[in-house]
Every structure is written in C-alpha cells, then in structure tokens.
C-alpha cells in the first residue's frame, strides 16, 4: 500500500479566509504536510498608482490599504510625509490623532474578534462586537464624514478640529467599553471548546518571530515586549500611560488574549487623550503644503496588525518617485507555512485567524 498525499485548495472564495486568500494544502489524511499561500488576488497596483498621484491624492488611497484600520494607514502616511517636510503638528491635533487611531485599533480588533470566533464556531460574539464597532463608526462619521474610509488626517494635522460632541461621544464609549470586553471574555476565555481549539495551536518562539519579521500582537504573544508606540514613540504617545501585554507561548489563544488586552489598553489611551485634550490656541489645524523637498524617509507606526511603514522617495516633484508600503500582514503571513505543518486541517483556519490578515494590505 502506498502513501499518497492529497492536495486541497482552500480559497480564494472561502468563508474563513478573510478575503481572497488561496492556500494550497498538502494533506496526509487530515495532517498538513505542506501549505503554500497563493496571494495576489487583491493586487490593485497601489504603489504604481501612487507614483501617478499627488501626495494629497495618495491620502485617499491609503485608507484602502488596510481597510479595517483606515485611520492607522492615514496616520502612518502623514507622519512619513511630515518627517520629509519637517512639519510640526500642534499638540491638540496630535492628541486627537492618538484618540482616533486608538479607537480605530479597537474597531479593528472588534471586527477581528467577531470573525475569528465565527470561524472557530462561536457565532455569538460577532453580533456583540459589531454592535460596539458601529458606535465607533458613528464617532468617525460624525467627525470625518466617512465610516470605513475617513481620509481624515492631513499634513500638519487633521481635516477639521474636533468639537465637544466628539469628546462627549468618545467618553460615553470608553466609559462603558470595559464591561463589553468583559462580556466577550465571559463567552470565550474560559470556554473549554475555545481553549481546545486555540491552546497550543500555532505556537511561535521569539526567535521565529524576529527572524520571520513578525510584528504586532503576534510577536507580543510569543513573549517579545515590543511595541513601536513605546520603543520609538511618535505623536505624543510618550504622554500616555498604558501597558504592553505579552504572552507566553505565541499560540492562537495568546494572540486572542493580546488583542483583548490591547482593546482595554486602547480604551484607556483614548480616555486619557480626550481628558487631557489641549485647548485650541487658534492656530490652523492643518498646514498648507506645496513643496516637497527631495530626500527619502521611512516612518513606521504600530498598526493593529504590526509594523506599518511608509518609505517615501521624493525627487522634489508633486508625486513621490517611489512610495513603498511595509505591510505587516504580508510579512506575518509568510510564517503561516511553517506554523501549520503537522497540524490538523481545522487548525489552519485558527492559524489564519490568529495572523489577522487583511488581503488588501498583503497584496496592495
């Protein structure tokens, strides 16, 4: 009797691949022998398009890179351009930016939690997390006009100043958010079914993470105490008091706990940002920018998925000569091939969920 492996195609249309990801699995029964992700189904040529658009127009494109964390993409991009221009951002704008980006982190993790739990069979959390996410979408819509793609940051600040409604609604959200996270934890954290699907699945060592370029909650789940908001602070993050959660063995459960704890920490940061919001000193909330000096810069932020960086090469013109997006999901997804080897087919879904990919960022 000969042993044969089967090749199974997962995706690109599949409820659990979170977008158009295709994975070619080689199975020996139900054990994975090899897994090759096939990406590019959402490659839209964003980096090429950026060379044909002005710096201001590119801002609109950045929303669509990681569509679950549009504010973070805007933020990383404007910070890189402001570095190029050596532009000072008023303190008030910095605090509002931090509040918006942390709210976006919460919204991104909420969506992740709902869909990840749904993939593993827990259908209820999806409705709870999307309910809270709608509250955040309301706040974004009130301040910027857009839910998913606000395009709200501008060079030197923001498109518009925040008013008292923003402060009131944000406070209302953060005051009750901790109880909502308790609700999600009640459903999942000590649930034996959840634990059996996630504990010891996809364990990562620190060395593996660093060598594979893995960043974000996955790296922290493996035990690496690294968060760009603390190690290389930007936009007044050093003014805020928050903890960086770390895990023990980098499995799916640890990644889940990282994101849950990050949501709690982000709510604290938002609270501190709106409580300590400096008064407007009358200066404009954004800068008028016309000239872009020649030079190159690289700036990265801690997005909900990891290190999101923008490398901009300017030749002095209205459009960048090169705009490179350092995509956290792309680099994190590389690790998937090794993590699933020797595991069961059902663990593939859990591990893809743990990475928290957004295909538009993987493919650009």
């Amino acid at each position: 009797m000969t042993e044969e492996t089967i090749t199974l195609n997962l995706g690109p249309q599949h409820p659990s691949t979170h977008g158009v990801l295709r994975v070619l699995l080689e199975l020996d029964g139900e054990i994975i022998v090899d897994a090759k992700p096939d990406i590019g189904f959402l490659h839209r040529g964003l980096e090429k398009l950026s060379e044909h658009r002005t710096y201001q127009q590119i801002l609109v494109l950045t929303d669509r890179i990681d569509y679950l964390a549009a504010m973070s993409n805007n933020f990383a991009y404007v910070l890189a351009v402001e570095k190029l221009l050596e532009l000072e951002v008023p303190k008030r704008a910095q605090y509002i930016r931090v509040a918006l980006v942390e709210l976006q982190r919460i919204a991104s993790h909420l969506f992740w939690l709902g869909t990840h739990a749904h993939d593993l069979g827990a259908m209820t959390p999806l409705f709870y997390t999307l309910r809270e996410r709608e509250d955040i979408m309301d706040i974004f819509e009130a301040i910027s006009g857009g839910r998913l793609t606000p395009s709200f940051m501008r060079f030197g600040g923001l498109a518009a100043d925040a008013d008292s409604t923003f402060v009131k609604n944000t406070k209302k959200f953060t005051d009750t958010f901790a109880e909502k996270v308790d609700d999600y934890e009640n459903l999942l954290t000590e649930n034996p079914m959840w634990l059996s699907r996630t504990r010891t699945v996809g364990m990562m060592s620190k060395e593996f993470c660093i060598n594979t370029g893995i960043s974000g909650p996955m790296a922290r789940a493996a035990g690496i105490e690294w968060d760009l908001r603390k190690s290389n602070p930007y936009s007044s993050y050093e003014d805020f008091d928050f903890a960086i959660p770390t895990g023990l063995q980098g499995d799916v459960f640890d990644c889940y706990m990282m994101r849950i704890r990050e949501m709690r920490e982000s709510a604290k940061i938002v609270s501190q940002a709106v409580d300590g919001l400096p008064e407007s000193d009358g200066s404009p909330i954004k800068a008028k920018v016309n000239k872009f000096p020649a030079g190159e810069v690289y700036h990265s932020i801690e997005s909900p998925r990891g290190e999101l960086g923008f490398y901009i090469v300017s030749d002095g013109g209205k459009s960048p000569a090169r705009l490179r997006v350092r995509p956290p999901s792309f680099v994190n997804l590389q690790g998937m091939g090794e993590l699933v080897k020797g595991r069961l087919l059902s663990d593939v879904v859990a591990i893809i969920g743990m990475i928290d990919i957004v295909l538009a960022e993987v493919d650009r």
């Binding site: 490659h43 398009l49 370029g213 290389n232 810069v297």
Partner: protein, 151 residues
C-alpha cells in the same frame, strides 16, 4: 545608531553615506551585502536582528538604474539603518538574504515580481502578487500604469 558607530563596524564596505531627517543610510556594493548584514546582525553594539523591509527602486533615467533598499531594526536598541545597493540594468542580480532572515523570502519575491531583480540562492524565486501571465515588471518606470494590451 550613529554614522560614526556604523563606520567603525563596516567602514571598509561603505561607498556612500547619507543622514537625512535623523535617518542613517549607507550605500554598499552588492558583493558586500552578506558580510555587512552578518556584521550588523551579529555585532553586540549593532544588534540589527529584525529585517523590517526590502524593496526595489527604479531610478530611470539615472544610472545605475536599480537600487535594492533594506531597512533594518534592532529590537534591543530600537535603532534603524537603511542599506542601499545599486544594480545595473543589465545585471540586476544580488545575493539573497534568506539564509540570514526568513523575512527576506517573500520580500525578495515581491522585489523580483515588481522590478525583475534576481536574488541568487533564493529558495523559491517566482512571481507573487501580480496576475499570472503578466509580461514585464510593473514598478519599472517604463511600464504603463494601465498596463499594455497583453495584460
């Protein structure tokens, strides 16, 4: 890390340096890429253990046409360095960094996909994100934005 600190460690490999907006960039020859990266990764004062990014650059009409740009980061010290390697248009090949960092695998594949730059010793150098059957390399300056008839 400061430029002086770097010059101490890899000075004999450096062709050019740049310090713009507090960022340090060194340009080296392509034959130096593996020795330089090994030093930067293993030296205790440098400790650049994290390969943040690897991408290509098309400088048409300047020569040499291509540049491969690496961004390195140190977990321990939190400092960054940018390494640039110029490549001629008709000889766009360089050693792969996959023996040092697994992160280089897909990053180099994307660089190959977008520019046609070949990485010697890469375990699986094939196109990664562009549509199958695409002729040409999209991020080259002479590739049209809308693509050509054959795409």
């Amino acid at each position: 890390m400061t430029l002086d600190g770097l010059t101490e460690k890899i000075g004999n490999y450096i062709k050019e340096t740049d310090s713009f907006r507090d960022e340090v960039t060194v340009t080296i020859d392509r034959d130096a890429i593996i020795p330089v990266c090994r030093i930067l990764k293993e030296d205790a004062d440098c400790s650049f253990d994290f390969l943040s990014d690897c991408c290509g650059l098309d400088r048409l009409p300047e020569t040499p046409r291509f540049m491969v740009v690496y961004q390195l980061y140190s977990m321990q010290y939190g400092h960054r360095v940018r390494i640039k390697v110029p490549l001629e248009e008709d000889d766009a090949e360089i050693e792969s960094l996959t023996p040092l960092w697994k992160a280089a695998n897909w990053l180099e594949r994307e660089c190959f996909d977008m520019f046609g730059i070949r990485f010697r010793g890469h375990p699986d150098l094939r196109r990664i994100i562009t549509p199958p059957g695409l002729e040409g390399y999209p991020l080259k300056k002479d590739f049209p934005l809308e693509g050509s008839e054959t795409t």
